[in-house]
């Protein structure tokens, strides 16, 4: 009977390991994460507007209904991605997520400065392979490194009042995301 506390102690230690490993494995095992949900609705490397959330239907939980949203689900396997987005009148933001929904970069219209947000998205390897002189001419373009090959770019435009939603959607409709094949 003296052994029982030892068995329980072992169970606690082992239980801790089980707990930590399941928490760490969850992002890889999840089948209903944001990327999987959007993979059913969006083609790769194309801009797709998301339906406004309603009580009956929401693409993802906790979406802000005051925003028009477009998504570009990207795959950088065949080259870097160019993103250009015109700004709406109120507030526009661009957020970059990895395959596992980690927001690794976000920028808003004021930080972007001009009348449009223009960005180059590439993997660290693609960035390293960029010819140097091109790097200089591209100084006025923002270059962002994606930690993962695949991921999501989410553009949000605020409609400060419900009747301005049409304008916010129209502003985002001019968004482009396309792959620039790597020059060999």
């Amino acid at each position: 009977m003296i052994r029982l506390p030892l068995w329980i102690l072992g169970a606690l230690l082992l239980g801790g390991i089980v707990h930590l490993s399941t928490v760490l494995a969850m992002p890889r095992a999840a089948t209903q994460d944001a990327y999987s949900r959007l993979a059913q609705l969006t083609p790769v490397n194309a801009v797709v507007p998301l339906a406004a959330p309603s009580a009956q239907n929401t693409t993802m939980p906790f979406m802000d209904p005051a925003f028009a949203v477009v998504v570009c689900r990207y795959d950088l396997s065949s080259g870097a991605l160019k993103l250009s987005a015109p700004l709406s009148q109120a507030y526009t933001s661009v957020t970059f997520y990895t395959r596992n929904s980690v927001a690794y970069y976000a920028i808003n219209d004021r930080a972007a400065g001009r009348r449009a947000i223009e960005l180059d998205l590439m993997t660290p390897e693609q960035h390293a392979q960029m010819p140097e002189e091109e790097d200089v001419t591209a100084a006025d373009r923002l270059i962002i490194e994606s930690p993962t090959r695949r991921g999501l770019i989410v553009l949000r435009a605020l409609a400060p009042e419900p009747n301005l939603m049409v304008m916010a959607r129209r502003a985002l409709a001019g968004t482009q995301c396309r792959i620039e094949p790597v020059p060999q």
């Binding site: 169970a11 606690l12 082992l14 999840a30 994460d33 929401t58 906790f62 957020t95 929904s101 009042e161």
Partner: protein, 192 residues
């Protein structure tokens, strides 16, 4: 024989403890680095690459996309200032001021992050459409029945969640103190 039973017991107990702890932490949304101001709690690190493993697992399970740090901060409230659960059958008043931000939105969800159906199709307010008193203060009534002024319908559901999102705000990961508030007060007025 005793060794066999002991090992079986240990393994089953370990699986129960481990999976149980995972279940509890992920359904309750445990994450580190919480910033709590009154009834409101935000996890600013969840919108950056410094997101902790618990928040990552929770987000993967629910399927939501956290608001990026360069974009804004989201504050969640599931109870009022004194700890009463946000019951849709009661009337709550949200009043006061907000921290500095270019825009903010307030949205009402059910416990799973879905919008709540109501007759006037209103699910929240933005800083541009709120009706303010003199001095910039405001009061929002959250309840099942229509009220004059800023009325946010709660549809009479058992438990709702309020999310206050501040966009383009100086409140960031670097400067986290509760003095950064003031966040609006949430108080229960009456229950039907």
């Amino acid at each position: 024989m005793r060794l066999f039973f002991g090992s079986c017991f240990t393994l089953i107990l370990a699986a129960a403890i481990g999976l149980g702890a995972t279940w509890v932490t992920l359904t309750r949304g445990v994450a580190f680095g919480a910033l709590t101001i009154g009834a409101w709690t935000a996890w600013p690190k969840s919108g950056s690459v410094d997101i902790d493993p618990y928040a990552r697992a929770t987000i993967a399970r629910t399927g939501e996309l956290p608001i990026g740090t360069g974009d804004g901060v989201a504050f969640y409230a599931r109870s009022d200032d004194v700890g009463n659960a946000l019951d849709g059958r009661c009337t709550f008043v949200i009043s006061g001021m907000t921290p500095a931000a270019r825009y903010w939105t307030l949205t009402l969800y059910d416990g799973k992050g879905r919008l709540v159906a109501n007759t006037i199709d209103r699910h929240g307010f933005t800083s541009a459409e709120i009706v303010r008193e003199a001095g910039g203060r405001f009061a929002i009534n959250v309840g099942p029945r229509a009220r004059p002024g800023n009325w946010l319908p709660s549809g009479g559901i058992e438990q709702f969640v309020l999310v206050w999102r501040l966009y383009d705000t100086p409140i960031g990961v670097a400067s986290l103190t509760t003095k950064e508030g003031p966040m609006p007060a949430v108080s229960r007025k009456s229950c039907s």
